[in-house]
């Protein structure tokens, strides 16, 4: 947090009285400060305006008399495509992938952070190189792999390429390396096994990082489009992003209210979740976004 009130230097007692009269946590706003705040508001509102506009179009029902606000566009869009199924698919995918990433990532990160073994550096560099390589770049080959496993048009086929994440391993390793050695020694003396130490010492100690990673992973996977587009071919497996595009595609011409309604159906829950958990979400980003 930026504690502006703590900025008053404690030195020089002679200078203190004049400054102490200033209300705590307040500053004298100069003209430049005020201008900057106005600019911040203008920039912020301009930034938000596209989203506001979509909501406006989605809820504006054209009725010949200039239109009124109502849910008609939303309900008719909801009836025209299985958005409920799409949501369910996305939720299952996102939960499955994130949990698998955390488990697989935590195991590997534990090995890298806690033990020494031959080839450790080489294996870690192997992980680091993968930080940049995403499964879609090999879409043909991965399609062939998934097809060979008989997993086309299944949620498993969409999720499998993502469950080992180099970023997750790297990120959790950093978090695990910050766990104090005394905790580990104490658990060892109490007779905890190596897996118990991971579960009872490392995981609780790195909880904020695990949560931050989970948030990043959930939002990435929720938004994923290209690979699910390739693998999913029926509504029983399509996630919400692919569903939205399918919903918009077959129509000819632009039906704004319908497009806006479909978009709002897709983004409203995300925005709601974000606004509710906004402080925590942004703070966890701020704290552990880049370390």
């Amino acid at each position: 947090m930026t504690g502006t009130a703590t900025l008053v230097p404690p030195a020089k007692p002679s200078a203190a009285p004049a400054r102490a009269r200033k209300p705590r946590g307040e500053r004298i706003l100069t003209a430049a400060d005020r201008t900057e705040m106005v600019v911040a508001w203008i920039a912020g509102l301009l930034w938000i305006s596209p989203l506001v506009y979509v909501f406006y179009r989605a809820f504006l029902v054209e009725d010949g008399a200039g239109g009124h606000f109502g849910l008609e566009n939303i309900t008719s869009a909801w009836e025209r495509a299985p958005f409920g199924q799409y949501y369910l698919n996305t939720t299952l995918l996102v939960t499955g992938i994130t949990l698998a990433q955390l488990v697989i990532g935590a195991l590997a990160a534990y090995a890298f952070a806690r033990f020494t073994f031959p080839g450790k550096n080489v294996l870690f560099i192997f992980v680091l190189v993968q930080l940049m390589i995403f499964p879609e770049v090999f879409m043909s080959e991965n399609y062939r792999t998934i097809a060979g496993m008989g997993l086309l048009d299944t949620l498993a086929g969409i999720g499998l390429p993502y469950i080992a994440s180099a970023f997750c391993i790297f990120y959790l390793r950093q978090a695990f390396m910050g766990v104090p050695g005394e905790l580990v020694e104490a658990a060892k003396i109490e007779g905890a096994s190596r897996l118990e130490i991971l579960w009872k010492v490392f995981v609780p100690a790195a909880k904020p990082s695990l949560i931050a990673y989970a948030l990043v992973s959930v939002s990435t996977q929720w938004n994923n489009f290209l690979w699910p587009l390739i693998v999913a071919s029926s509504d029983t497996t399509r996630p919400i992003t692919v569903g939205l595009v399918r919903f918009l595609a077959p129509e000819t011409g632009m039906d704004f209210p319908k497009m806006a309604a479909g978009t709002v159906i897709v983004i409203a829950p995300l925005l709601a979740a974000f606004l509710i958990g906004q402080r925590g979400f942004i703070n966890s980003f701020l704290r552990s976004g880049i370390k």
């Binding site: 911040a40 938000i48 020494t116 090999f138 080959e141 080992a164 595009v245 632009m254 880049i290």
Partner: protein, 283 residues
């Protein structure tokens, strides 16, 4: 079990899947890229073809332009917005959340939203321009305008995202530095340029790598808005690979293109590792 054997056991699941979905396809692509269309034979024709394939060259140029312009613009705007929203002010939380919101939305939804803005006759931009008596171009239909139009949208999404990283960076700067500038009457811009900007360089380097990889990875909007048109003016690399793989059913040639992209990505990864290395050493 020895610690050594235990460590390897811990790594097995991760390395199994990393191998299955990155190493195996990498090897598969190398082999496949040297086969003729339909498989079989040995040929380097696929690589020779890359230099003559106008669509591929166009996609590569487009992607290069797209990256070179959107990355600095996004980061510059992100930094500016972060500085603005770092100050204590009424509505700070609301504005921060609003600027960050595009970052959490699916690219396809953002693409749909921006299509309203870019429509030639009824779109928001042209309605505004038209009411001012200005020319109303076909933003997504004009080969000269389509890529810049897509870039604007990308910058909108990305700047909101990287603003959060810059806010984190700004919070890490000792507030006394700002107070010192204030007392000495140093102007805000000068303070930013001489103090904040250099201290934000590590954030900038990290963000630039992420933004660069995003500019190659995020092509969802091409599917929604333009399908690469008009005249391939908005084709990007990953989209072209998709077309060759699944519309032209030519995985051998797609493999050659994938390897070009991977070479770029690995080069970026090496830069990233060097940066991480440096960060660890200096900590």
């Amino acid at each position: 079990m020895s610690d050594r054997a235990f460590s390897y056991a811990l790594l097995i699941p991760a390395f199994f899947f990393l191998t299955l979905f990155t190493v195996k396809p990498l090897i598969g692509s190398v082999l496949s890229s040297m086969q003729e269309r339909g498989g079989g034979g040995f040929t380097l024709e696929n690589y020779a073809r890359l230099g003559e394939d106008e669509t591929f060259l166009r996609a590569a140029t487009n992607n290069l332009l797209f990256s070179l312009l959107t990355v600095p613009l996004s980061l510059g705007l992100a930094m500016w917005l972060a500085v603005l929203l770092h100050q204590k002010m009424r509505g700070q939380g609301f504005l921060r959340a609003g600027v960050f919101a595009p970052a959490i939305l699916p690219m396809v939804a953002i693409a749909v939203i921006w299509m309203y803005f870019y429509q030639p006759n009824i779109g928001v931009f042209n309605t505004i321009l038209g009411s001012l008596g200005l020319p109303t171009p076909d933003w997504l239909g004009d080969p000269a305008l389509v890529l810049p139009s897509l870039m604007v949208m990308m910058v909108w999404k990305e700047a909101g995202f990287f603003m959060i990283f810059y806010l984190a960076g700004l919070q890490g700067i000792d507030p006394e530095l700002e107070e010192a500038s204030r007392l000495e009457g140093t102007g805000k811009f000068r303070h930013f340029w001489k103090v904040s900007f250099p201290l934000l360089l590590p954030t900038t380097l990290f963000s630039a790598i992420v933004a660069l990889s995003d500019s190659i990875k995020m092509v969802d909007f091409v599917f929604v808005m333009t399908q690469g048109g008009p005249n391939n003016a908005s084709t990007l690399l990953l989209y072209h690979i998709y077309k060759v793989s699944f519309a032209q059913h030519w995985p051998q040639y797609a493999a050659a293109m994938s390897l070009v992209v991977v070479a770029v990505l690995v080069a970026l990864a090496v830069i990233q590792i060097r940066l991480i290395d440096r960060k660890i050493h200096y900590r």
